[in-house]
Symmetry: C2
Subunit: 158 residues, 2 copies
């Protein structure tokens, strides 16, 4: 029972607020570039990546939702919008009558392939190439660990 709050030290505060702020800025800038150059949002890009990562570009709905870590409702709305634009299609699932697949279309695949090189270059320019190899390693390690801990806590409380 700790009554007294342990505030953050100056460096801890810089780490936390800097982290959040850096994220917001990068997301803003990279999202804007992506949109301008390829007509895809960050969210579209994430979905297409998850679909191309998998055989035939086809995935069950909730599996996809877990992959991008969105709530099912958000996923449903977003997939509906992407389907309207022809980037993906829904397909029924024979062995489970309530289920659905999401499948990437040739248009979707082409959009992703067109977007990817410039997007990756932008990620390098704004972020990765600004980091030393050691910093990259530290960040990779630390994010893996923190995410793992969050998973555990969620399991414990679910």
């Amino acid at each position: 029972m700790e009554e007294i709050p342990r505030w953050l030290s100056a460096e801890e505060e810089q780490a936390w607020r800097g982290f959040v702020r850096m994220h917001d800025r990068l997301r803003f800038r990279l999202g804007r570039e992506l949109q301008a150059e390829s007509g895809l949002s960050f969210a579209d890009y994430a979905v297409l990546v998850e679909l191309t990562d998998v055989p035939e570009g086809r995935r069950r709905f909730l599996e996809l939702a877990r992959a991008v870590e969105w709530e099912k409702s958000r996923t449903s709305h977003h997939i509906a919008r992407m389907a309207k634009r022809g980037l993906v299609v829904r397909e029924e699932c024979p062995e489970d009558g309530r289920g659905a697949f999401v499948v990437i279309t040739p248009v979707g695949r082409a959009a992703l392939e067109a977007a990817a090189p410039r997007h990756v270059a932008a990620v390098r320019r704004a972020f990765i190439d600004r980091l030393s190899p050691q910093e990259v390693r530290v960040l990779a390690d630390l994010s893996r660990r923190v995410l793992g801990d969050l998973d555990e806590q969620d399991d414990g409380c679910g």
Copy 2:
């Protein structure tokens, strides 16, 4: 003129995607806790912090917008909502007829003071205390540098 895209190495990719994913997870979890315990959103919290950081809790509108790094339109809408809840008030600016101040109210101050200790504790629990001192240092440094570079680039292109 580099024609061939330089893809990310496995570790670079883990650093980038882990970074984004870690941010989203932390934001989700901490935002939810904050909301549940204090009735404040992440955005509310950020505004209140910027206001308490300054004498009399009073700031010019666009100055506040720059501080939280939001577009003026978003700021305007958000402040309007916060004003409706009594967390802040607008005040006219005597020496510039179009200007406005945003001022934190006692209610807003109380809300922030109530929220802060638990929020900071949550930030520690989920993030800061999971990091070694060295990792904190690396993250603080790197975010400062990346943000600085982004500022420069924005200036250059503005």
